[in-house]
Symmetry: C2
Subunit: 403 residues, 2 copies
Amino acid sequence: MSKIVVKFGGTSVANTERISNAARLIKEKISKGHQVAVVVSAMAGVTNDLVKKSKEIDEKFDLQEYDALLASGEQATSALFSGALKKLGIKSRSWQAWQIPIVTEGFHSNSRIVSIETERLNKYMNEGEVPVIPGFQGITSEMRLSTLGRGGSDASAVALAKCLGADYCEIYTDVDGVYTTNPAINPKAKKIEKISYEEMLEMASLGAKVMQSYSVQNAMMNNVDIYVRSTFTNNEGTKITSDQKISYENVVSGVAYSKDDAKITLEGVDDRPGVAANIFEPLYKNNINVDMIVQNISLDQKKTDVTFTIKREDLKKSIELLNKQPNLKFEKISFDEKVAKVSIIGAGMITHPGVAFRMFKSLSENNINIMIISTSEIKISVLINEDNTQKAVVALHSEFKLD
Amino acid sequence: MSKIVVKFGGTSVANTERISNAARLIKEKISKGHQVAVVVSAMAGVTNDLVKKSKEIDEKFDLQEYDALLASGEQATSALFSGALKKLGIKSRSWQAWQIPIVTEGFHSNSRIVSIETERLNKYMNEGEVPVIPGFQGITSEMRLSTLGRGGSDASAVALAKCLGADYCEIYTDVDGVYTTNPAINPKAKKIEKISYEEMLEMASLGAKVMQSYSVQNAMMNNVDIYVRSTFTNNEGTKITSDQKISYENVVSGVAYSKDDAKITLEGVDDRPGVAANIFEPLYKNNINVDMIVQNISLDQKKTDVTFTIKREDLKKSIELLNKQPNLKFEKISFDEKVAKVSIIGAGMITHPGVAFRMFKSLSENNINIMIISTSEIKISVLINEDNTQKAVVALHSEFKLD
């Protein structure tokens, strides 16, 4: 018998038929003797519709009311889901965040869970009943409704799993797990059976949209095992867990890519202390995230070139900001919008030398030019021409024996 | 300076444009120095959609979850409305029922407000801020969400007006007041400037769908003045108040009618004590509402005829129930589906004799046959052939100088 927190995403509860199906999944678990707490998202489309309405009223809609507005979406799902469980003869009730309570702190619309009162919930579950909890929300210490930001229902599920002392957390979504790369661009992609938190984080930030990074971090910090599974198949899914629990057969676990980057180069920048800060200060202050950075070695110690990548949508604003930044002198600013970042990820690569070499060789053999390289302990990323994305992914997937 | 509770119905907040318009109405009142609390319904269509979803999952959906589900509708409107007020520079926040709290008792899906904690609300309003409160809901003493039944947002507004000690309550809806009769069948119908609670109750139960009877009763018991107005015009609306505050120029205030009645006659029923109870017991037990009843005077003290009216939709079931009722003997059962009830209503008629005579004479002059008569202190109703409804309404409207 296990104690499980099960979370259903928006597509898994998109209509009443799917809600009833999801409720049957819970009934199966209960009939196997498991204790289950359910966390639900808003029905697919509902949150976007509410956000749209708020923007129609005010482009800068009040954030406290934004939270009260959005919280209504998961509230409705929690009631429908609990009703569906009762229809199947399962004892259940919805527990709203203020009834538990789930207390958050931080900014409205982007809060963090700081505590969950679990005594009554645990008692309730010990009696064999199934609490259904709206994800993505909590209340502040001032008793106002708060929300956790996009993907916040995952965060709710992980926090509940930790506070309830659950054996694991299941995330039901519309994909059946984490893949070695995007099957849409490489049909040889395979589902990963187990992946470490760290690898998952690298995958997530690179566009594997299975779970939000914040929730994976939180699961890692609290050692909560996560299973990502599809509501629409009976497939096994992917287990996200500590790397100590994984035996690495492959050095590389997956190949990720992102296609929404842009590259900016500043040529002829003074090569003196403080210049990098001068470049990135206006971007930081305007919430523009800088990813890869390369500074050329300056031979004459006087001038250098700095190249970095940002999200493509921030390109125009970044150039404006750099052009009007005081104390920043450069000879020329250039940019390239047609770039893509391709990465290989694997907790195994720390102990396997030569991984970078194999990567660069494989790309070279495919006539793919590398613009920037950046490395971490479990990831190597290269910036290439966007047109080569698929070719690079297929080549690396094969090179590292993921096919 | 007045203290006002202003309630907006579903059509008045049907989309974000209307919510912004309604918020401007509040801004006008604030700029005149009034203190205002706002009560909102769910956006038009939202509640019906949620009810439909609950029935898709379970025809007998759990009532506690039904309440948690439906309450989400007004919660969303309250947040949107408060955001719209802030956009206009008005200090405001949404106050959910559990934040106030508004405490209810009675059955889930059909609760009554028993208390509203107003100390914090009053303090908030004294600081010039506008609370926006979701109508139709409260919490039980067990901290579960509860709802008040259809039309419940009116009940919330009236209860708040009473508990906050408001000067009056404004109900914004899609009609601009209460009319002397339905303008659709008599173009000479006029808007009533003032109407007593009692008259309004008689009008409401006869199909003037401006306000639910329960809320009018509650306003009457607590002496809360109500203004019914349209969000879509600047017209004055109708004031619903105590009859002491009205000077009656006309004996009759309005002519109402309902066209969804049916008549059943039982002929040759034993004329002995207990027979009426025998007839109406099965109807009562099946929630069938009997309206007008006539028992003919029995000349031979042995057999009599009983005629009564019910809602047309209950006709078939009523006949079935009567036919299989034990201990009930009659010679013949007959029915008429093509009947209508026409009523004249007026608190002034108590002190004016001859009103009934004038009514019957007017109908007779128009060749309209009366099947049943029923009278109360402020109302006289007659059952007639449905085809004569419009002719009767026009004649009575003219007879009692309402044109």
